[in-house]
Symmetry: C2
Subunit: 589 residues, 2 copies
């Protein structure tokens, strides 16, 4: 019996004891985090599958793992030899997990899951569809009883983000939230998403890879605010400073504090798409007003200090990128994918204000570049040599902001197709970046600007064009996106998004060009206030991949003007031996 089968057997005996017919593990944490810390790698522990998304279902007789197309091969390999069966997400002949349970269990079957990993919204959606056939039984996580060496809730040190960097102090931000509470008639607001808490408290941690958050909950009342996180992780000075505005209690005290503190005639504001069922149960009986967390909208529009920090971060990042690019010998060199992203990382880390990478780098050579979500492993790691394209999507975390940049780098000689594809992607990037748009415009309206030139040639890409980014926080941050999905969030002054069209030709090549842009106020006319984008990213495009004949005069001027700006900003900062490369890379087309 494999270790996996043993774990499944242990869980099954608990199911019997608890009179449950199934247990579902969605693999998230109590905070709906994009990246989870080891304690909540529940899916991997029970199934052996280490991918970043998937659902496990254990019944009396079956162990099933749902994964999406990115993971069909990896999952099949990793569950090999165990009793697990792979199920395919969004594939016609495969039902989704709950439909499967409905079809395979008796009517009224009891389906259990960890109450801290399902949101109020998700449970309501499940009940709307499955109330007739399945009984959902949220409860304390059964894995706690059988995962004996389960990692603890992490408690890495927490550091202060000074107001000189954050722009607003803790109490100023608390005041903004309290003003929003008044407008919604709320006495309290409960926040569980970690980047919202980090933003509001001006604190940063390292509990999760790349994203500098710390495990915590937050409750804001009219006069008092509670931060639930291990107090021992603060220096005594910082704890004293934080306690001026927040009562710091242990992470585990959130439920009892809610129950004891919030009077039953109080109104609580929360986001049902973020708040888990354990918190929801604790709040029961109070009047609820729901919506997006106030902090989500407040932090989305970067303040002037944050924007200044982001500009500096992008300047330093540009230096690292140009130093890196100038050192590559792209006609005769030979590197692995991982070596290349490591080299760039080292260039970034030369500056003391760089803390590390802002996300796991994507370094995809040739056909690997055609896999949008490729992440090089020791096994897949390709040698980059000969003719071809490298998609390098990386970012730096700096003291005063993060970066996220993709450049498609030519090695050797390009084909006509590669040049045309690169130029079409570039045209899309420029069209979006140079748009002017009226107040109220959403990302879904702008998205096509980046796709139009590819579409005209019968090509397309199957990801969004842009995501919001956090300030020295998460590389993916909402609520705004630039995507075909109808996310009705208007772009507002100070919002920062990526502009990253691409093209992916299976087995051949991938191309992506990503700049970060910030929404700024533009002209005001009789038709209202207009906005436009300020480009933050400083790194030359790949001029040998540009087919100039496909650019309009206006587009050519835009490339030249961008390159002139990149040159002027970086020329005194890059290594002396990189200057010649910078000059050539930014010369007029």
């Amino acid at each position: 019996m494999s270790i996996i089968d043993e774990r499944v057997a242990l869980l099954r005996s608990l199911l019997e004891k608890k009179q449950l017919d199934a247990w579902v593990i969605n693999g998230t944490d109590p905070h709906q985090s994009e990246y989870v810390c080891p304690r909540w790698r529940t899916r991997a522990w029970i199934s052996g599958f280490t991918g970043s998304a998937g659902t496990v279902v254990i019944t009396k007789d079956e162990a099933l793992l749902w994964v999406d197309s990115r993971y069909f091969i990896q999952a099949q390999q990793q569950i090999e030899g165990s009793g697990f069966v792979m199920m395919k997400v969004d594939t016609p002949s495969y039902p989704d997990p709950y439909t499967y349970l409905k079809e395979h269990l008796d009517n009224g079957a009891k389906v259990g899951f960890d109450e801290t990993t399902l949101t109020v919204f998700a449970k309501a959606a499940l009940e709307q569809t499955f109330a007739d056939s399945l009984v959902l039984v949220p409860q304390a996580d059964l894995l706690d009883r059988i995962w004996l060496d389960r990692p603890a809730v992490p408690s890495q040190p927490v550091v202060d983000l000074p107001v000189e960097i954050a722009g607003f102090s803790r109490i100023q931000k608390l005041t903004m939230v309290r003003l929003a509470m008044v407008q919604k008639g709320a006495d309290y607001t409960l926040v569980s998403s970690l980047d919202d808490i980090a933003w509001l408290t001006n604190l940063r941690g390292s509990d999760v890879s790349y994203t500098p958050v710390f495990l915590s909950y937050l409750l804001v009342g009219k006069d008092q605010a509670w931060l639930f996180t291990d107090p021992s992780r603060f220096s005594s000075d910082l704890l004293a400073a934080v306690q001026e505005d927040f009562t710091v209690l242990d992470y585990q005290q959130v439920v009892s504090t809610i129950e004891q503190t919030i009077a039953h005639d109080s109104v609580v504001y929360y986001n049902p798409e973020k708040i888990n069922l354990a918190l929801y149960e604790a709040m029961k009986g109070r009047k609820a007003v729901t919506g997006r967390d106030f902090t989500t909208d407040l932090k989305a529009s970067k303040n002037d200090t944050e924007l200044e920090g982001l500009r500096r971060a992008h300047l330093l990042d540009g230096v690292a990128l140009v130093n890196f690019l100038s050192r590559l010998d792209r006609t005769r060199g030979s590197y692995t994918e991982i070596e290349l992203s490591d080299l760039l990382k080292q260039q970034r880390l030369r500056n003391p204000d760089c803390i590390g990478e802002s996300f796991a780098p994507i370094s995809g050579w040739a056909e690997h570049g055609a896999m949008c979500h490729y992440s090089a492993t020791e096994e897949s790691n390709k040698v980059v040599q000969g003719n071809g394209l490298l998609v390098l999507d990386t970012g730096g975390m700096y003291t005063f902001g993060l970066t996220d940049v993709t450049r498609t780098i030519l090695f050797g000689t390009p084909t006509e197709e590669q040049k045309r594809d690169y130029t079409l992607v570039l045209k899309g990037n420029l069209a979006l970046a140079s748009m002017r748009f009226p107040e109220g415009t959403t990302g879904y309206q702008l998205d096509i600007l980046a796709r139009q030139f590819l579409w005209k040639q019968g090509m397309s890409y199957f990801h969004g064009t842009g995501h919001g980014i956090g300030f020295r926080l998460s590389v993916h941050e909402g609520p705004q996106v630039i995507s075909p999905k109808p996310v009705a969030v208007p772009l507002k002054k100070g919002m920062v998004v990526s502009d990253e069209p691409g093209i992916y030709k299976e087995g051949r090549h991938g191309i992506r060009i990503e700049n970060i842009v910030a929404v700024r106020e533009d002209i005001q006319t009789e038709f209202g206030q207009f906005y436009s984008f300020e480009v933050l990213t400083l790194c030359p495009f790949e001029r040998d991949l540009i087919e100039v004949s496909l650019l309009s005069a206006e587009e050519k001027a835009m490339v030249d003007s961008y390159h002139r700006w990149v040159y002027e900003e970086l020329k005194d900062l890059v290594d002396l031996e990189a200057l010649e490369y910078l000059k050539q890379a930014t010369a007029r087309l």
Copy 2:
């Protein structure tokens, strides 16, 4: 006491008898029609206000009329001298009708309204917001008791749309609906929207101005289908033909038939945004599956026969337009706005296949053109003379399809601003019409293509870019639109939409250019199936308003190629004396 005040007093005495605190009249009909027949001009009868939208609220002490900004002036004039007070829609200091009632009536106040004019969806939405404070009491229309000469349910003759024109026979269409029913597990589907019924039955009427529908309900079962409409309106031959597929019962029999025919264990499919509360009550106890009417999606994608008819209709319309344009003396002529739309109507009616206009024409001279929804009346009717722009938005109803076309016509000499504005609108029209897009693309994704050039100059327009059109039916037909609103309906082969960007400068001029386009299959590539638009409208753009220096070479070629096509198609069909105008109007830029 005015006649209006007398009517309000009569209604108030009924309110007292019925123990109601308020009565709400939204002015729609039982079918949620865009244009209503005289019987349901309830708002006008009780208030004197004749506009196309507005809500009346009568309480014991007050008579209120809510209208939107289009009607502020007209409504104030029309309620002058009565006890009515005007309320402004979407204006900060004015609550909406139900919020007003909540604020001004006691808690638990009873609000009555005609049960046939509120949909299931609308009632649910009201209850979600006002359940705490107001009790909604749908019932038979109180106006029936006091509006002694209320017009009857219209019963104009109904005519057959032969399969040679409709493309599919009644039984073929019924089969399509029944296949869709099977997929949804439905035993019945109930349809109340008039254009859906006209499409499914291949019948056309004239109960409502412009839109050739007939008052009716439709119930489709697995083996039998019921059409509820006055049987005496059919010729005996047509009645016999229709009765091969439908049981024809009187309009008033719909409720009792539903109650008696649909078994209680049946599943009924319906659209809660269309079905009124009287029908909903009749279906109570049956299991409901809800969604858009099957017919709505089926009729949206025009079949090949319908498309062929639409092409012919647009050809005939192009002949009428060019004959009309060639007769105008635009440097010295003098016409009124109404005379001009009448002249065009007469040109259309010269062809025996033209039945009439497809909607009330918009003929707006100079500053009237800057009012999007302007409709000339005897009072407003301006004389068109001197220098200026006329916005002429009209359409013809032909035996085999309808048209909807807007041209902005220059009289005299244009200003630089007029030429630039016209050219920017034209560029938007061309950019949308020439787009290629992959399967699944929605109208909200494409919308910005028509706006982008205006936005870049700090201009915008505040209406959608395009609406769907019906086949010899409603000029506005969903579900697809080209609009910034996140209506997640993909554009499919055969869908027909308008492409009508514009610019409206208050007090100065308006510009709109509208062509009708049909979605057609384009190339298939490794990225999937692509679609593009076929332009149906045949009418020259206004060349003296085109600032050629603002067009790209590609755009210039598009205008030339469109004009060449218009010339080739129309040259043998227009009046001999119009040929010279056509030649000049379509000459190369």
